[in-house]
């Protein structure tokens, strides 16, 4: 997997980011009893997975992958997930909130907030508790959103997975304080200092496999409230007279399909995606329907235990 052909030598900037991320991953394994990689199947967690394979070579991945499935993941994401986990021989844990499932929580009738809270945040907490994971590695970046800009690399969570902005520990010189008390956990973000460009640059240079949805293709699209929604199955009811139209689109972020807006694009290769990003004038999260719900929604979600 690591010996695949590369198109370019990494820039010193990417080399530095790569080394930092590898060091953070090793620190996690050296300091915690039972770490896990939160694998959301997006480009960021694909990069973290790639870095982890490098960090622990020639050994195997020393932690399992955890995917929180909401029942509304793009089918292509699930196929990609299973294929990738099999390729690298990783242990894959898939968890769906059984209570939410029983109550039939879904984004169409309950709205994005309730759906993400029950099937996302609650499900994540359940899975972490059930397996006793004391450190959860994620692909979040500081450049994504303002509440993230202040996030620590090792982000401390009090019992109940509570994130307290004032309780976060200063991080000096990369001398991370990884000590936790009973019931406490840590979230770990190896890509903290990466930007969206860095991620794509690195994916391009390292030829990292990502979900095909990131590349443009003709897809069945509904226009809903200004967003282009790809109708991935029959559960989204059509309005009277409405028909999905086939459009050339791609996705900039991954999420639940009814909540993730596509944009019109012809970018079919990584290079074309990079070129499109260079010219883009809207931010990455623009396509996420959940973030625009309410002001400071990310901070609120984080406090509740969202990744």
């Amino acid at each position: 997997m690591l010996s695949q052909q590369k198109t370019a030598v990494l820039s010193p900037h990417l080399r530095r980011l790569e080394a930092e991320a590898i060091s953070i991953l090793r620190e996690t394994v050296a300091s915690f009893r039972n770490p896990v990689l939160l694998y959301s199947i997006g480009k960021d967690s694909s990069v973290v997975l790639h870095l982890a394979l490098k960090a622990f070579a020639p050994g195997r991945l020393p932690f399992p992958l955890l995917h929180i499935a909401t029942g509304w993941d793009f089918r292509e994401m699930l196929e990609f997930r299973d294929r990738r986990a099999a390729e690298i021989g990783a242990r894959l844990i898939v968890h769906t909130n059984p209570d939410g499932l029983a109550r039939g929580i879904n984004p169409i009738t309950h709205g994005s907030q309730v759906h993400m809270s029950v099937m996302g945040t609650e499900a994540l907490k359940q899975a972490l508790d059930m397996h006793g994971f004391d450190a959860a590695i994620g692909g979040a970046r500081r450049d994504e959103e303002k509440a993230r800009a202040k996030e620590r690399v090792f982000s401390h969570r009090a019992p109940g997975h509570v994130w307290e902005p004032r309780g976060q520990r200063p991080e000096l010189w990369g001398l991370y304080n990884t000590r936790i008390g009973p019931g406490e956990t840590m979230r770990v973000f190896p890509l903290s200092n990466w930007t969206e460009f860095d991620v794509w640059d690195y994916i391009a240079a390292e030829r990292i496999p990502v979900v095909p949805l990131y590349f443009a293709a003709p897809r069945p699209i509904l226009r809903r409230g200004g967003a282009l929604i790809m109708r991935d199955d029959e559960r989204m009811p059509l309005e009277p007279g409405e028909q999905p139209e086939t459009m050339w689109v791609r996705f900039r972020t991954m999420g639940d399909w009814p909540l993730t807006g596509a944009h019109e694009s012809r970018a079919q290769t990584i290079e074309q995606v990079l070129e499109e990003l260079r010219l883009s004038r809207v931010s990455e999260r623009h396509g996420r329907l959940i973030d625009n719900d309410q002001e400071a929604s990310m901070e609120r979600k984080k406090r509740e235990g969202y990744f």
Partner: protein, 619 residues
């Protein structure tokens, strides 16, 4: 991010200044004028400006960087935020640091990871205590390049005299701070003067704009040129055939075949393999995350440091360091903290505060403790010997953090000034007659019965009864209490928190010697702090320390008030009286809890004796 953008690599910048100097606005301006703000973000900011902004209909650029809800509502920055931007000439990571005094620790965090600092001064206010404090912290943390942004220059009518006066004052103050470059720039974050474009309002200013300077400044990165240091982070041992030491090269370089020494043990070997992110490589230099395989089977663990045989780090258990305190709970000499240096964790305590630094004047003051945000030059002692370099020589192997053992908060950070050589000259003598031999001669297991509780709880009364009974049954005992120690060994100590810590430390050392002599030692001390009781517990061997909490409600103690002390304390005649004007932290896991308000002292003594009997006859 095309190929040419990296011509000057990455610059890590710190911004600091006081509340309302306009830091967030200046950074917002930098991002905005560099056209790095996405349209949807700008639309959101415009909407928020009407809600939280302070500028009416004008877009409040500070909202681009003030992220947390609490900050937006209060209009201040309360945490370090990291911003990323790239111009055609350079990429930047900007650590936006808070101005409030209570968040100085966050500023130190930003400084520890930065190469250049932008120090903001409000042109109307000139230099403030915070300006001096932040400059000193930048200097202490090894930042060698600063920009003095005299901001809000529009509000002083772009007056050159104001600018010159502030720059002159600052130059005088900063002369002793060791900056290699100090570039003053008159700026207006709100209107953009001299941020990314030269201002027509300051024709008298001929220097670069802020962005021009940031794009062109040379910050010497000399980590690769100093001696090789490799703190081992993780031992990679996937199978019998592979044993590698993973970590990031802190400084210098190493090549295949070169000799290295394990700094702590002095064992040498040479590098047989270097595995980088893309497989085998011949060399590894500062900043690279690699895995090294050595030619010999040597004992290496996480926390060890590999170094050149000819140029080793110091290995010591005592050293002098500048300590910056970051916790609400003050640093008390003698109290033990967890310490992380490189990848090694150990315990450490401050043995002496040589002086505290007044950061406004840089004067030295005497001090008995360090409170939040205070800085002092201290001597420290560690439980184990650790590899270190002076911070001035190596920022990565000369830095450490201290962690509170109970809350796990990062309580302080330190920069090593120099190792204390005397540490290496004191060797512990090994007598032929040891503790076991002495204990056997006395026919008992030595131990410490540690009675803790409020004044008047009945500690000493119970201890006396216990000692009498033990003595009658042929045990060899000794009692330590305030009466026989406060008047002699500890007569130089008062009742402040730091003196209480030292009092207990000495008691612990004396008790330890007596245990070594084979005795059963009864100690009756209020000993109000968990940390110090834990310290004594750890001085002794497993099972030798028996903590007995005489749990008597303060109302009962006050009613008894045998010595009339509570009455005096309530009248305010005794300062720092435990339970009245000084805290008591009850034990969380004492070996025995006695209900001091219930049964008679004789009944309580029987409970202690039963426990002692069990311990004496066990194993």
């Amino acid at each position: 991010m095309d190929g040419t953008s990296m011509s000057r690599g990455l610059l890590r910048v710190l911004t600091c200044g006081s509340v309302d100097d306009g830091k967030s606005t200046l950074i917002g301006r930098l991002l905005y004028d560099s056209q790095l703000i996405m349209e949807d973000t700008l639309a959101a900011i415009a909407r928020d400006s009407r809600k939280h902004g302070t500028l009416g209909e004008e877009v409040d650029l500070a909202l681009l960087v003030d992220g947390l809800e609490a900050e937006r509502q209060q209009g201040i920055t309360i945490d370090v935020a990291y911003r990323f931007f790239t111009t055609p000439r350079r990429s930047f990571i900007v650590a936006d640091c808070p101005g409030h005094e209570q968040y100085t620790r966050n500023m130190a965090t930003g400084a520890s990871n930065s190469e250049l600092a932008i120090i903001l001064v409000d042109a109307r206010k000139g230099l403030l205590t915070q300006t001096r404090r932040h400059s000193y912290i930048c200097s202490l943390l090894g930042i060698r390049h600063v920009v003095l942004a005299v901001n809000k220059i529009d509000l002083v009518h772009f007056d050159q005299q104001v600018f010159d006066r502030i720059v002159g004052e600052y130059a005088t103050f900063a002369a002793g701070l060791g900056f290699h470059s100090m570039v003053p720039i008159p700026t207006s974050g709100r209107f953009g003067d001299n941020v990314t474009r030269r201002s027509g309002n300051t024709p008298w200013y001929r220097g670069p704009t802020l962005l021009e300077h940031l794009e062109s400044v040379e910050v010497e990165e000399d980590l690769a040129r100093i001696p090789f240091r490799f703190p081992v982070q993780w031992v990679n041992r996937p199978n019998q055939d592979f044993r590698g030491f993973s970590g990031t090269v802190a400084s210098g370089a190493v090549a295949l075949g070169e000799s290295v020494v394990v700094a702590g043990s002095g064992v040498t070997s040479h590098v047989a393999r270097i595995l980088g992110p893309d497989g085998d490589q011949e060399r590894a230099t500062a900043g690279e995350a690699v895995t090294l395989c050595l030619a010999d089977e040597v004992d290496v663990a996480r926390g060890d440091v590999l170094a050149p045989v000819s140029d080793r780090p110091a290995v010591a258990d005592q050293f002098a360091a500048h300590l910056l305190w970051m916790d609400e709970e003050p640093m008390l000499p003698g109290r033990q903290y967890l310490m992380r240096i490189g990848n090694a964790w150990t315990t450490a305590s401050v043995t002496a505060i040589k002086h505290r630094v007044d950061v406004s004047t840089l004067d030295h003051q005497s001090a008995t403790r360090l409170a939040l945000n205070e800085i002092g030059l201290c001597n420290l002692a560690t439980a184990t010997r650790v590899a270190m370099d002076p911070y001035a020589q190596n920022r990565l192997t000369g830095a450490f953090i201290l962690v509170d053992r109970f809350t796990n908060r990062t309580a302080g950070c330190g920069m090593i000034a120099f190792p204390l050589r005397r540490a290496t000259n004191i060797h512990h003598e090994h007598f032929l007659v040891d503790k076991a031999a002495r204990a056997a001669a006395l026919g008992q297991k030595p131990m410490v019965l540690w009675f803790t509780g409020l004044s008047g709880s009945g500690k000493s009364t119970v201890a006396k009864l216990v000692e009498q009974a033990l003595h009658q049954s042929g045990r060899h005992t000794y009692s330590l209490d305030g009466d026989n120690l406060r008047h002699g060994l500890n007569r130089d100590l008062g009742f402040t928190d730091q003196d209480r810590v030292e009092n207990i430390r000495r008691v612990g050392e004396v008790a330890k010697l007596m245990v070594d002599a084979g005795l059963i030692v009864l100690c009756s001390f209020i000993s109000p702090f968990r940390a110090e009781r834990q310290m004594v517990r750890e001085m002794l061997a497993e099972g030798e320390f028996i903590e007995i909490f005489v749990d008597t409600p303060i109302e009962v103690c006050m009613r008894r008030d045998v010595k009339g002390l509570y009455a005096k304390a309530m009248r305010g005649e005794i300062a720092n009286f435990t339970g009245v004007s000084s805290p008591y932290e009850p034990p969380e896991a004492a070996e025995l809890v006695l209900d001091g308000a219930g049964p008679s002292a004789e009944a309580l003594a029987q409970q202690v004796l039963a426990l002692v009997d069990r311990r004496q006859s066990a194993g």
